[in-house]
Amino acid sequence: MARIHIDEFPPYSPPDQAKKENVLMVAKLMVNAALTAPLTGGVPGHEAEIAYGQKELEMIAREMERLAHKEVPKRLKKPFLYEAVMVRESDAIVFLGNKRAHETPMDVGCGLCGGEPDCSFVYDRLNHFNGLIDATDRSRETTVKGPLCQIRAHDLGYVIGSALWMAEEHFVDTKPCYSVGLAGRNIGICMNSELVVGIPIAVLSKNPYVDIPPNYHLTNMAKQIDAVRKITVITRQIPNHPYFTHDAEAKAKSGKKKKEE
């Protein structure tokens, strides 16, 4: 008979690891759902990757923190830092990337990218030969290399939606993030895609992606737990006593009694 003990705390303990394995199953189902999402013309064009494990998630959180301090505009600094905390609290991350928006447009002249009834807006601004876009130059002057085919980009929304819906069906909390997607893409996850979105997923009694207090990157639970470890060690050195031969509490009580007599 096997006994599987499951608990969410402490993180990465064997009981938590058992829970994480369950979450990984949902992550895989999310990817399946994502791949069956309705797409423009039913054309396939997405890839997925799952990040799982403490080190893997830490690498992503750190790249998010680098982006927060070095690359993204000021208004995104705190959201990126807060979402890095959420990544560390997550059980896994599902990455979804769009392989077409930057390289193989829909070529339908929809008008979304430039408001013209042709695809000139995109092709005039990208390096291409007779309509074949050369995406081999992967250097970027902006966080995302644009312009992109917007109707292809729109497809990524459906892929994300179906993944999120599947997670919801299993009562697993999620939050689709620009920050997580960028960080993953920058460290080689979903490497065929220019547009990548990361969906951290977690099973915790408290949804880790909502109710975020100010300066969350400094005030989150991991920081508070660390503070307890840091402070308790110092504090205990003051009320120390030779416990084997001396019961401080009993002594105090008997002293009190004597006084009353």
Partner: protein, 273 residues
């Protein structure tokens, strides 16, 4: 107490499912946290102008004809399902300065769109890439909701584009249409009404145009034969790239006709003009 015709009762229930899809769409998590959904349910004779414009567009394009034929046939059978229109103003930037739209900053983008807003085949632009993605997620939730209700649906560019041109969801830069129903199995795929719309030869020619190499003979000679008939080696046909002035003209005339209809429905033109 009463006895209902099950099919009729279920058809009426489609309206409730339509409302449920809107609730589901509103519940979709978004990336930008700025996405604002516009939505409307169009039913019965209010679909007529949309079907008419779609059919006019379809005179030169199989894609729109495909949908126009299906909707007209459902209407003729009294089975036209309610259609939920989903739309949004995708021009509003996420303000992330990400560069995905082709401009270095959202400021440069906003400066550009001030003088360069325009319309393509079915949408206004330029747009913010992240709003386009969020719009997809929202529509996906609507689609998933119909699937959960075991109701046929297909999210359609064609219906939305015509509806938008006819003035539905004012302020939206892109509108998509989601028919909720009809009752049945896979009715938006392998469409019954479509079986007489194209000849066998037309179907085969479309396949050939979409994947000519599949029917290409030895290509080493530099002028490859396309195997377009049973005895392909007799009077062979070749692949050729050419301008098609007749088609360009027909397309332009077709579009003029479409705009005329749109103006008629919006009351700018009288019926007899």
């Amino acid at each position: 107490m009463a006895i209902y015709n099950g099919i009729d009762a279920a058809h009426e229930h489609l309206m409730d499912v339509a409302k449920a899809t809107i609730l589901a769409a509103g519940k979709a998590p978004t990336l930008t946290h700025r996405f604002e959904l516009m939505t409307e349910i169009v039913t019965d004779e209010d679909m007529d102008p949309i079907i008419d414009v779609l059919a006019t567009l379809g005179e030169n394009s199989a894609f729109q004809r495909h949908d126009a034929v299906a909707l007209q046939s459902l209407k003729d059978q009294g089975k036209l399902p309610p259609v939920v229109l989903f739309g949004a103003d995708l021009m509003k930037p996420a303000l992330w300065d990400c560069g995905a739209c082709g401009f270095k900053t959202c400021g440069e983008y906003l400066k550009f769109i001030k003088d360069n807003k325009g319309v393509g085949v079915g949408c206004y632009g330029p747009s913010c890439v992240w709003q386009s993605i969020d719009f997809g997620t929202v529509c996906d939730y609507a689609c998933a909701c119909t699937a959960r209700h075991h109701v046929e649906s297909r999210i359609m560019f064609s219906i939305g584009a015509c509806a938008m041109m006819l003035g539905h969801l004012e302020g939206a830069t892109w509108v998509l249409g989601l028919p909720i129903g009809p009752l049945g199995q896979n009715l938006w795929f392998g469409r019954t009404a479509w079986k007489d719309a194209l000849t066998f030869d037309q179907r085969m020619m479309t396949q050939l145009a979409g994947g000519p190499t599949n029917q290409m003979a030895f290509s080493g000679g530099g002028n490859p034969i396309i195997k377009s008939k049973q005895k392909w080696w007799e009077d062979p046909t070749y692949m050729k790239v050419e301008q098609d002035e007749n088609f360009v003209e027909a397309e332009a005339n077709g579009l003029a006709k479409v705009y005329e209809k749109i103006m008629k429905y919006s009351g700018v033109l009288d019926d007899d003009e």
